[in-house]
Structures are given as structure tokens and as C-alpha cells.
């Protein structure tokens, strides 16, 4: 049994805005084990990036973590001072940002930007050690070592993205977050990058948090997954189990709207309507207004709670449906 690397418990985070608090992360709990790949899936705006940013505590200035706990290797990160956090960032948790194309400072050489991260966390390394480290990282992600002396604008999108992966791995982090790392790329390159991440993850035995709105990609990339809707996790469990036996209506809708997973070209059952505003307090089931199964089996007005329905498989269901 491999140990738990990252344990998130009852995490709540909101953005303070002029029109009220936007609750982007509500009571989110999950665990990532060593060498495990964990997927986070959900529609745009459901709070995936907010979760990722909270893990690194790099949220926007108007964001507040109001409660909850984030433990990395048993060490509590919520409430850490800035200088403690600086040590954990990249060395403990690194991230490939959404839209990572702009992750590079345009006026600094790519190699220097990676070197800077290593220098920060391994201050006693010699120049040669760092160069060798970067060379081996580049080799791993399929880049030529001469890229080190290039400026970001001299690289293609795919090369930049590979270099970003090398950057994320540069300090041998315990957990790597990949937040929709392929959004800005064309389909062929997307596929290559996904394979690259998968390969590296298996090779290094990384704990990976893979974020995507595409449930098909999650199926390909992860061992365990969580489905997010309107700031909350509505279903989580082993990826194969969820695909075989989805319980929450939202998960079912997501799966149904993804033909590649279902196999046969079934009718695309795309979801209608918009997710609820995160400013309003939501009583009961947040998916109710769009739910195709509404009022057939459930009581959406009641309090919802995550309940274990199979081995390690949890679903958000109302108190009346619990047995």
C-alpha cells in the first residue's frame, strides 16, 4: 500500500468581489497517493483551477481559503508563512499552468528560467550539475539540449509545452499539477504531450493531479478521479469504477456527452443550461435545475452529502436516498 502524499480535507475557498463572495471551492476533500494519477474533471468555471491554486496557495489577491486542510507528506500547508510556502512550491508541488504557452518570461532564456528554479531549491548545486540536470530533463521530454540557450519565442508551441513539463519536474516535486496542459495546442500535438506526461509520470512514479474538462482525457490519464460541479466534488473514486458504474446524474451526463468514451456513436446528449452562479448560496442539489433525472428518484431540496457507494467510490446524494 503506497502512502498518501497529498491529503486535502474540507477545503473551502472563495473570491471576494464587489457583488459578493464567489464560493469557488466548497468542502473539497481528496487524497493523492504516491505514484498515483488523480483526475479532476468538470465544466469550465466549476473551480478546478481554483483548487489547483489553493494547493499552491497562489490564489488571486481577492481569494481567501476560509477553512480546510491541505497536508503534503503530513505537513499542514494552510496557514504557512510566505517563506515556508516558497520552500514547498516547486520542490513539494509544482504546476503546469492552464495556457502554459505564456508561462515563459519572453526576455530570459529557457534554460536560465529552469536553472532559476533549481537554484532556488538546491542552492549548493554547481553550474555543471544544474546544466546536466536540465539536459536530462530535456531528454526525458524529448527536447534537444540546445533549447536551453533559446528564448521562448524561438520555440514552437509544442516545444514550449514540453519545456514547461521539464520545468515542472526540475526540482523533483512530490506532486505535479497539470491544469489543462494541452488547451492551446493543436490536436496532434495535444496527443503527443499527453503521451509524454503519461510516460514521465509512470517513469518517475510521480503523483500527478490532472485537471481537464474532457472526461475522455481523464479516462486515459488517471487512476482515480473526482467530478466537480459548481465548486463541489459530486463524485469521486477509481477512474475505471466511475466509468463502469457512474452514479451521479452529472457524471452520467458528462459521460453521455463524450462519444469517444461510450464507444458507439450514440446521440450526443449535451447538457443544457448554465451552471449556477457561485455567488448565491445553493441549498440542496446544485445540479437540480439541469438534471435530466430530477424528481424521479431524488429529493434535491435536501442536504447533500458524499456517501460511499462502492469500494472507495463516493457520490453526493441527498439524505433521503441514503440507506
Amino acid at each position: 500500500m503506497s502512502k498518501d502524499v497529498l491529503v486535502v480535507k474540507d477545503l473551502n475557498m472563495h473570491y471576494e468581489t464587489l457583488s459578493g463572495d464567489v464560493s469557488a471551492v466548497k468542502n473539497v476533500s481528496f487524497t493523492v497517493k504516491e505514484g498515483e494519477s488523480f483526475g479532476l474533471v468538470g465544466e469550465s468555471g466549476c473551480g478546478k483551477t481554483s483548487v489547483a491554486m489553493s494547493l499552491l496557495q497562489l490564489q488571486a489577491d481577492n481569494a481567501k481559503i476560509s477553512s480546510g486542510s491541505i497536508k503534503l507528506d503530513g505537513i499542514e500547508m494552510v496557514g504557512m508563512s510566505e517563506s515556508e510556502l516558497r520552500k514547498v512550491r516547486w520542490d513539494g508541488i509544482s504546476i503546469v499552468f492552464q495556457g502554459a504557452m505564456n508561462a515563459w518570461n519572453p526576455v530570459v532564456k529557457v534554460g536560465e528560467q529552469i536553472r532559476e528554479a533549481i537554484r532556488e531549491h538546491y542552492p549548493n548545486n554547481t553550474k555543471i550539475q544544474n546544466t546536466e540536470k536540465i539536459e536530462s530533463l530535456f531528454k526525458m521530454v524529448g527536447l534537444d539540449s540546445t533549447i536551453m540557450d533559446r528564448f521562448p519565442h524561438e520555440l514552437s508551441g509544442g516545444m514550449k509545452q514540453r519545456a514547461v513539463i521539464a520545468l515542472a519536474l526540475s526540482c523533483d516535486p512530490k506532486v505535479v499539477i497539470a491544469d489543462e496542459p494541452t488547451t492551446a495546442l493543436d490536436v496532434v500535438i495535444q496527443d503527443q504531450i499527453l503521451k509524454e506526461i503519461k510516460k514521465v509520470q509512470e517513469l518517475l512514479g510521480l503523483s500527478l493531479i490532472y485537471i481537464s474538462h474532457d472526461i475522455a482525457v481523464i479516462a486515459e490519464m488517471t487512476d482515480k478521479m473526482a467530478v466537480m460541479y459548481a465548486g463541489s466534488i459530486v463524485e469521486k473514486g477509481p477512474t475505471s469504477e466511475i466509468f463502469a458504474n457512474p452514479q451521479h446524474s452529472y457524471t452520467k451526463s458528462l459521460l453521455a456527452s463524450t462519444p469517444s468514451v461510450v464507444g458507439d456513436k450514440v446521440k450526443l446528449n449535451s447538457l443544457e443550461g448554465e451552471p449556477p452562479s457561485l455567488i448565491d448560496q445553493i441549498e440542496g442539489c446544485s445540479f437540480a435545475p439541469r438534471c435530466p433525472n430530477r424528481n424521479t428518484t431524488c429529493h434535491p431540496e435536501l442536504d447533500m452529502e458524499l456517501v460511499e457507494v462502492g469500494p472507495d467510490h463516493f457520490v453526493d446524494i441527498c439524505s433521503a436516498s441514503r440507506n
Binding site: L56, L58, E82, L85, R86, K87, V88, R89, W90, D91, S94, I95, F97, G99, A100, N102, A103, W104, N105, P106, V107, V108, R115, E116, A117, R119, E120, H121, P123, N124, N125, T126, K127, N130, F151, H153, L167
Partner: protein
């Protein structure tokens, strides 16, 4: 790059040539005899007058005269000052230039560094009370009517408080039995400043390749200490020791003009830095840098400020161009006998050779500064480096 510079130099030569022709024609369009001030000069022997007329064709028709002037100009012969006859414009400029350069290079360096520093701190501390106040102050000094402000400062510090000298660049009585000219002292002050900056720059370059950040910092600190100790020894030995009291007299006279011009000049840089920095801080790579665990100060200086530097440097180099024309006003207010005063006097007294020479000097200076701005911009921004090669 070399090809680009050559092409630009060629263009600049043509521009300069046109500039020369037009200014000469313009000066000669001033009503009255173009060389009347030469005629009125009591120090001028009559035969010398005749000779000057002949050599420079001053009695010839305007076009012919212009042609002769241009030819002589490119031969390096700028004629004689009408006013200070045996002196050539070059001699006059050589005497005045160090004074202006000294004053304004110090002003510009101080103004640039304070402006850039304040600007980046303002952007970094956005929303704080201090930020609001400093921004308001900067806007004030950016928009204040400069001559009024300069006179106010003169009045306060020179007259009311009596801390600083009013005008002039030295106490004449102190220099009465000085063993050397003020120019000599000026030149060695400039040399000193240049050498110090070069050493500091070299230390910076040399330490750039060092991997350990703390070692890098220590080396830079030690180099700074070494420069201080070195300066101390330099000014307390040999020739420099003799010049020291005079140099400090000049330095004392420089305080007020440097202060006043800096207060007016830093604000532009500060406000521009603040705006560009705030844009840069929104960029994704700033977030990457934070995620990497880089220190706040390093993110501010190495990532945000480094990119924000681009437009700031360009605008700064364009203000350098205005050093000499800007100095007309400043030198008049502070009675600082530099290039600005020379320019003004020579125009007022219709001392055409001197006026032409100083104007050409300003022109060449401006053209070179622009070229420098382009070159340094392409150095600072690798994205442009490629384009300029093509």
C-alpha cells in the same frame, strides 16, 4: 546587427547634412549683416578681419557661402568665433561641454535610478497609502512648471535657508590662486565617475555567471566596498589630493541643480515604470515565477522590472537627447556656464560659427542617442533582435 548600424549611420549622415544646410541658411536669414558681430569685435585686428572674410567667403553670396561652410565643416574647420575671436568654436565647446556633461549625466543617472526604483516599488505595492501619496507627488513634479519650481527651490535653499550656493558652479574667490583651470578638475571628476561606473559594471558582469545567488550577492557587495576604499585612496593621494578642495567646491555647487532637475526628471521614469510594471505583473510568467518559489524581490527585479525596463529605457534615451537643449533653461537659471548658455549666447549675439557648431553638436548627439536607443532596445528585447537583423 552590424549591417543595420551601418545602414542607420548612412541615413543619419544624410539627415545631418540637410540639418546643416538648413540651419546655416536659417542663421543667415537673421536680418542684418551676417558677420556684423565680427566687425564689432574690438579685439579683432583689421587685417585678421579681412582674412577671415576671405577664407570663409563671408562676403560671397549666400549659396556660395553655404557651400563653402559645408565643405569646411566636413574638413573639420568650423571657423572662428566672432565674439571671442582667436578662439575657435571647438575650443569654446571643449571648455563648456565637460561642465554640462558632468551636471546632466549625474542628474540623469540619479533620476533614472530613483525613477525606476520608485516606479517598480509603486507597482509592487499597488493600493497602499504610500503608493497613492508618492504617485500624486510624482504627477505633481511631472507636471509642475519647471522654471517656477527651480526658482522656488533656489529661493528656499539658497536664500531663505542659505544652505546651498545660489548659481555659479564655483566660488570665484576660492579659485583665485588655484593652480589649475576648472576644466582640469571637471575632467578628472568625469574620469573618476566613468571609471567607478565601469568597475561596478564589470563586477556585475563578472558575477553574473556565478550559480550561487548568495555568493553572487557577496561579490557585488565586496566590489562596492572596494570601490569606496579605492575612491578614498584616490582622492587622498597625489594629483587628486591637490584637486580635492576644488572638486568638492564644484560638487557643492552641483547639489542644488542636481536636486531640482532630478525631482522634475525622475517623475516621468517613475510613472512610466509604474504603468508598464503593473501590466507585466498580470502576465502568466509572473505566476510561474511565484509558483517556482522565487523570492518576491527577485520576481520584482528579475522578472517584472526586467521586462518593464524596455519602454522605460527607450523613453529615457529620448530624454537624454534633450540634455543639451534642456540645459539652456537650467543653465540660465542656475548660472551654470555650460553648453546651454553657450548656445543661447551665441544665438543672441549672432556668433554664427559658434551657434552652428553647438547646434551641429546637439544634432549629432541626438542622432547617436537615437541609434543607441534602437540598439539597446534590441539588446534588451530578444524578440526584436531577430527582426532588426533582417
Amino acid at each position: 546587427m552590424a549591417e543595420y548600424i551601418i545602414r542607420r549611420t548612412f541615413q543619419m549622415t544624410i539627415v545631418f547634412f540637410l540639418f546643416l544646410v538648413f540651419s546655416y541658411l536659417l542663421f543667415n536669414a537673421i536680418p542684418g549683416n551676417a558677420f556684423s558681430s565680427l566687425l564689432l569685435n574690438p579685439n579683432l585686428p583689421p587685417d585678421a578681419y579681412q582674412r577671415v572674410l576671405e577664407i570663409y567667403g563671408l562676403d560671397k553670396p549666400l549659396l556660395e557661402r553655404t557651400q563653402m561652410y559645408i565643405v569646411n565643416f566636413f574638413k573639420g574647420d568650423f571657423g572662428y568665433s566672432y565674439k571671442y575671436f582667436p578662439k575657435t568654436p571647438i575650443e569654446l565647446i571643449a571648455e563648456r561641454l565637460p561642465r554640462t556633461l558632468m551636471l546632466f549625466s549625474i542628474v540623469n543617472i540619479v533620476a533614472f535610478y530613483t525613477g525606476f526604483f520608485i516606479g517598480k516599488v509603486l507597482a509592487w505595492r499597488r493600493g497602499s497609502k504610500a503608493e497613492t501619496w508618492i504617485t500624486v507627488t510624482s504627477v505633481f513634479s511631472y507636471t509642475v512648471f519647471y522654471p517656477w519650481f527651480a526658482l522656488m527651490m533656489l529661493w528656499v535653499f539658497g536664500y531663505k535657508l542659505g544652505w546651498l550656493p545660489i548659481g555659479k558652479f564655483l566660488y570665484p574667490e576660492k579659485w583665485y590662486d588655484a593652480p589649475f583651470d576648472s576644466d582640469v578638475v571637471f575632467t578628472s571628476m568625469i574620469k573618476f565617475t566613468v571609471v567607478v561606473s565601469l568597475i561596478q559594471f564589470a563586477a556585475y558582469l563578472a558575477s553574473r555567471g556565478i550559480e550561487s545567488l548568495s555568493l553572487r550577492r557577496n561579490i557585488r557587495f565586496v566590489s562596492l566596498i572596494a570601490i569606496f576604499i579605492g575612491s578614498y585612496f584616490y582622492w587622498n593621494n597625489g594629483e587628486a589630493l591637490l584637486q580635492k578642495p576644488y572638486a568638492s567646491d564644484i560638487a557643492y555647487h552641483m547639489i542644488l541643480p542636481v536636486m531640482v532637475v532630478t525631482v522634475v526628471a525622475f517623475a516621468g521614469t517613475a510613472l512610466l515604470t509604474r504603468t508598464t510594471m503593473m501590466e507585466v505583473l498580470k502576465e502568466d510568467y509572473i505566476l510561474t515565477a511565484r509558483a517556482k518559489g522565487i523570492s518576491q524581490k527577485r520576481i520584482r527585479d528579475r522578472h517584472a522590472a526586467r521586462t518593464a525596463l524596455l519602454p522605460v529605457v527607450t523613453s529615457f534615451i529620448f530624454t537624454i537627447v534633450t540634455i543639451i537643449d534642456g540645459s539652456v533653461l537650467t543653465e540660465q537659471i542656475f548660472s551654470w556656464p555650460g553648453m546651454g548658455q553657450l548656445l543661447l549666447q551665441s544665438v543672441l549675439e549672432e556668433d554664427i560659427p559658434v551657434a552652428m557648431a553647438t547646434f551641429s553638436f546637439v544634432g549629432v548627439f541626438a542622432l547617436i542617442a537615437h541609434l543607441l536607443a534602437d540598439v539597446s532596445y534590441s539588446y534588451l528585447d530578444p524578440r526584436i533582435r531577430i527582426k532588426s537583423q533582417g
